[in-house]
């Protein structure tokens, strides 16, 4: 999961970048990186406020809160990232989130629990889809590494969960987990500050470049 925001009403910033010519892309990227950092910090701060309870399996008709272990995974260094910058003409885009955060080890495995609710065996390429059959399919298709699993792993390989899925389950909720929209709260709280940081960074770099160019002309 990641967030996309478009900052509008920054005409004066756009006018400054227009004056910079070739250096505009560098300035825009630098400012966007600073702004993305503010957004990431804000989302992380909101993630620290996630309410947890000791892990338990949600029984029929019940919901649960995230476990401290799941919260710790989101707060771990490297869980959240800023995506590689996509430069398209005069546009620079990036995203902040858990899209490529990989897998994390968890100590529980709901697939092995008799307490799991309403587990429905659905067909997967014409076969019953269970935890073990999915794992067999992944191993046989040679895609184990792609899924973040070792091909030599046993059933315990299911204990590796995608960080993005954990984040999405907490943020959007599931039928068995109460939602805590930390991602939207963090993004909302950080938006104004990120905009200010982007604006200030562009102005600072603009003044530096203009002053340097002016000094260069004088010395020439």
């Amino acid at each position: 999961m990641a967030i996309t925001m478009k900052f509008t009403g920054m005409e004066e910033i756009s006018a400054m970048l227009d004056q910079l010519g070739d250096q505009a892309n560098f300035v825009a990227s630098f400012a966007l990186y600073e702004g993305a950092g503010v957004m990431a910090d804000s989302i992380n701060a909101a993630a620290r406020a996630i309410v947890t309870e000791p892990f338990r399996y949600a029984g029929p008709g019940q919901t649960r809160l995230p476990s401290p272990e799941e919260k710790a995974i989101l707060l771990e260094n490297g869980s959240m990232g800023i995506a590689r910058f996509d430069k398209n003409g005069s546009e620079v885009n990036t995203s902040v989130g858990y899209n490529k955060s990989g897998y994390a080890d968890v100590s529980w495995n709901h697939m092995n629990s008799a307490a799991r609710t309403n587990y429905k065996a659905v067909s997967f390429k014409g076969k019953e889809n269970t935890a073990s059959s999915t794992l067999r399919f992944i191993r046989r298709s040679g895609k184990a590494e792609q899924y973040g699993l070792s091909s030599s792993m046993g059933h315990g390989a299911q204990n590796r969960k995608p960080v993005g899925v954990i984040a999405n389950a907490i943020n959007s909720g599931t039928s068995f987990m109460k939602k805590q929209p930390f991602f939207r709260i963090g993004a909302n709280n950080g938006r104004r500050k990120a905009e200010e940081v982007i604006r200030a960074t562009v102005e600072r770099l603009f003044n530096q470049i203009i002053n340097n160019n002016g000094a260069g002309r004088k010395s020439a």
Binding site: M1, P60, G61, Q62, T63, H110, M111, R116, T117, N118, Y119, K120, V122, N129, N168, S172, G173, T174, S175, F176, K178, K179, P181, R184, I185, N188
Partner: protein, 135 residues
């Protein structure tokens, strides 16, 4: 001269916030006078009871997204909320269209489908719409 009952209803409607109107409409939409197997239970600001039905929905107000301040006071505030639909049906059993129509009526353009996921464990499809509303 309007009768007393109608007058009271009109006053209640006028006093209701935009969010309450949205919730009322969602309830009216999904819980008709003759509830049947297709009734979509709606839980308001509550999550702890999971209805044992084919489809169910949840509407909640999550946090204050923005505010307009002036004269040393808060003039108005925009709240961000969400509508969740859980359904065993891949198409949402018709609720998707009805919920989006209700959101269009109350939230104009300030709503979006935030996520659409499938829970392999329970076999439920999950739609989450996020909206902002003055309240």
């Amino acid at each position: 001269m309007p009768d007393e009952e109608n007058t009271n209803t009109t006053q209640e409607d006028e006093e209701a916030t935009e969010y309450q109107k949205l919730v009322n409409d969602l309830k009216a939409l999904t819980q008709g006078e003759t509830p049947n197997a297709h009734t979509l239970p709606m839980a308001e600001d509550e999550w702890y009871t999971r209805p044992d039905t084919v489809s169910y929905g949840i509407v909640s107000l999550d946090f204050e997204a923005d505010a307009l301040n002036g004269d040393n006071t808060k003039l108005s505030a925009a709240h961000e909320g969400s509508v969740d639909l859980f359904s065993m049906s891949k198409s949402g059993a018709g609720w998707v269209e009805m919920i989006t129509d209700t959101l269009k009526n109350h939230c104009d353009a300030s709503w979006s489908l935030n996520s659409h996921t499938y829970e392999r464990d329970t076999g439920l499809f999950h739609w989450e719409w996020v909206f902002q509303i003055w309240g």
